[in-house]
């Protein structure tokens, strides 16, 4: 029986410069922030993120970790525009591939099904097709002959997601109202598929606490499990905790000036996870 438990630090040793990493969650909701914090503490660079983006995009932009972002949006939800991501885009310091939200899903799904592409109408006629000149269309071989977007697979080198519960073998459970697309990131990655969770529990306790429908991620989809309490902080992790709005506001304020970012960085980034958790809980 494979025990897949490891630490967030060990996860980061499995990652390398230049990798394409899928990040689960949605906006400022259930983001794998404990692993993101560990990436921020590491020497990793030139990363490409694929995500429905939230503060992890801004933090990694501000820390100079990203070469490229593939996204449908980047938002903090209660603060609509992500300030550090905006700053990076406006300074031209990162590459961007902006897609319709459904196209992003299709790209991950195609990768998880090992297909080269999936057809869709989303994107047709919009500037998504011109700002992403690598996108191609395909003609239906049937009588309709319709021209469709051939959304290419978005294969990942690694995937990181945060869930509410998991067992030591990698069966993982969402207890909130939405899985988002976490299973697709795991499916789209050829390896290095990491789940952090609020609590690792015995397998038998997974279904004693909630219905079987919450078990959409089975252990064949997961290479490593990290127990990371407050592992989504400051994004929401319903029902374990909501978004830390005060913290998020402070984070957003750190984009105001280089000094503000330096102060935020000193206060919240360049510290150990133990110190981070102690300060948040204080």
């Amino acid at each position: 029986m494979g025990d897949k438990r490891l630490t967030a630090t060990e996860v980061v040793t499995e990652l390398a410069d230049g990798m394409t990493i899928g990040v689960g969650g949605w906006g400022s909701r259930r983001k794998p922030m404990a692993i993101v914090r560990e990436i921020l503490r590491s020497s990793l660079r030139d990363l490409t993120l694929v995500t429905y983006g939230g503060p992890e995009v801004g933090l990694l932009c501000a820390a100079g970790k990203l070469r490229k972002v593939i996204y449908g949006f980047v938002s903090l939800d209660s603060i609509p525009l992500e300030p550090h991501f905006r700053a990076a885009r406006q300074a031209g310091t990162i590459e961007a591939a902006e897609l319709d939200e459904g196209m992003l899903q299709w790209g991950l799904y195609a990768a998880s099904l090992r297909l080269p592409f999936l057809p869709t109408r989303a994107g047709l006629g919009s500037d998504v097709m011109t700002i992403n000149p690598w996108l191609r269309s395909v003609r239906s071989p049937y009588a309709d002959g319709e021209e469709l977007v051939a959304m290419p697979a978005l294969p990942l080198d690694a995937a990181i997601v945060h869930l509410n519960r998991a067992d030591a073998r990698g069966n993982a459970q969402f207890l909130g109202p939405d899985l988002y697309f976490d299973d697709l990131y795991l499916g789209a990655s050829s390896g290095r598929r990491f789940v952090s969770c609020e609590r690792i529990v015995d397998t038998a306790d997974l279904v004693s606490a909630a219905s079987v429908h919450t078990l959409k991620i089975n252990r064949s989809m997961v290479d490593g499990v990290v127990e990371a309490p407050l592992g989504a902080h400051f994004t929401s992790c319903d029902p374990d905790y909501g978004r830390d709005e005060a913290f998020q506001k402070e984070y957003a304020g750190s984009a105001a000036s280089p000094d503000a970012w330096a102060a935020f960085r000193r206060e919240w980034v360049d510290i150990s996870e133990a110190d981070y958790l102690a300060k948040v809980r204080a």
Partner: protein, 253 residues
């Protein structure tokens, strides 16, 4: 009912966008569209499905905004199911627009050149797929020539010409139903699908709308006033669906 305020007129103008839609997902992005959808269902379009803004369809009249209100859940609508409904066409969304042009192209992606924008915004989000697949309306709380522009910087949501160029299927399913601003209500019911001034809100003149719009609007004869909420609708807005007055926070100046 002389105490009716502009925000309440806007709520009704948003709600009216869903009139006649029947049993589809009335999806509102932001307080005013969400409130409009809930008022529409509570008042004159009872078969609409409305969500709590997260992942649940609620059958009861749920107030907008955060708060521990009782939800009568009638369905589960996680984002993946939203995309399924969207591509299946059983949805009418009302989104925001940082820019909109005379043929209904919408921009929420960025201002300025794409490669190095002057202002990065949200990203295109679901706008390309929404507009290709089902009815879409827009709520604009700050009517002005920088929002109603001759040409948007990045086409996120498709306007009419773009939809026609995107093929017969999309042209047949594309439907920009309404644009509602703090000045009035607009549609595209013109021969060449140029934006038309459908009604002005009480207290706003046609000239004011024209002056605040960066392109030529189609204007036919005497433009009517946007309708006022009924007494029942006023009670719904004030007492039931937005007792905290969140709707007023969306109207800037």
């Amino acid at each position: 009912m002389s105490d009716i305020t502009i925000d309440e007129v806007c709520v009704i103008a948003c709600a009216e966008a869903w009139r006649g839609d029947g049993e589809i997902f009335a999806s509102g992005m932001g307080v005013m569209p969400m409130l409009g959808a809930r008022v529409a269902r509570a008042s004159f379009e009872p078969d609409l499905l409305v969500s709590d803004g997260e992942a649940l369809f609620v059958a009861n009249d749920l107030p907008v905004g955060p708060g521990l209100y009782t939800k009568v859940v009638e369905g589960w609508i996680p984002f993946r199911s939203v995309f399924d409904m969207l591509w299946g066409g059983r949805r009418h969304v009302m989104m925001g627009a940082t820019q909109v042009d005379q043929f209904g192209n919408q921009n929420i992606a960025c201002i300025g050149p794409w490669a190095k924008p002057k202002a990065q915004l949200l990203g295109v989000r679901g706008a390309p797929g929404n507009t290709a697949n089902h009815a879409t309306s827009y709520w604009i709380p700050n009517h002005g020539p920088r929002v109603f522009v001759p040409e948007v910087d990045v086409v996120s949501g498709l306007g009419y010409r773009r939809a026609e160029q995107a093929g017969a299927w999309i042209a047949a399913h594309h439907d920009i139903r309404r644009v509602v601003s703090n000045f009035g209500v607009f549609d595209f019911d013109t021969p060449d699908h140029r934006m038309r001034l459908r009604s002005v809100h009480p207290g706003v003149t046609v000239n004011e709308v024209v002056a605040a719009t960066g392109f030529e609007l189609a204007i036919e004869g005497d433009v009517p006033e946007s309708r006022l909420p009924t007494a029942h609708e006023l009670e719904l807005i004030r007492e039931v669906l937005d007792p905290g007055g969140l709707r007023r926070g969306e109207l800037r100046g």
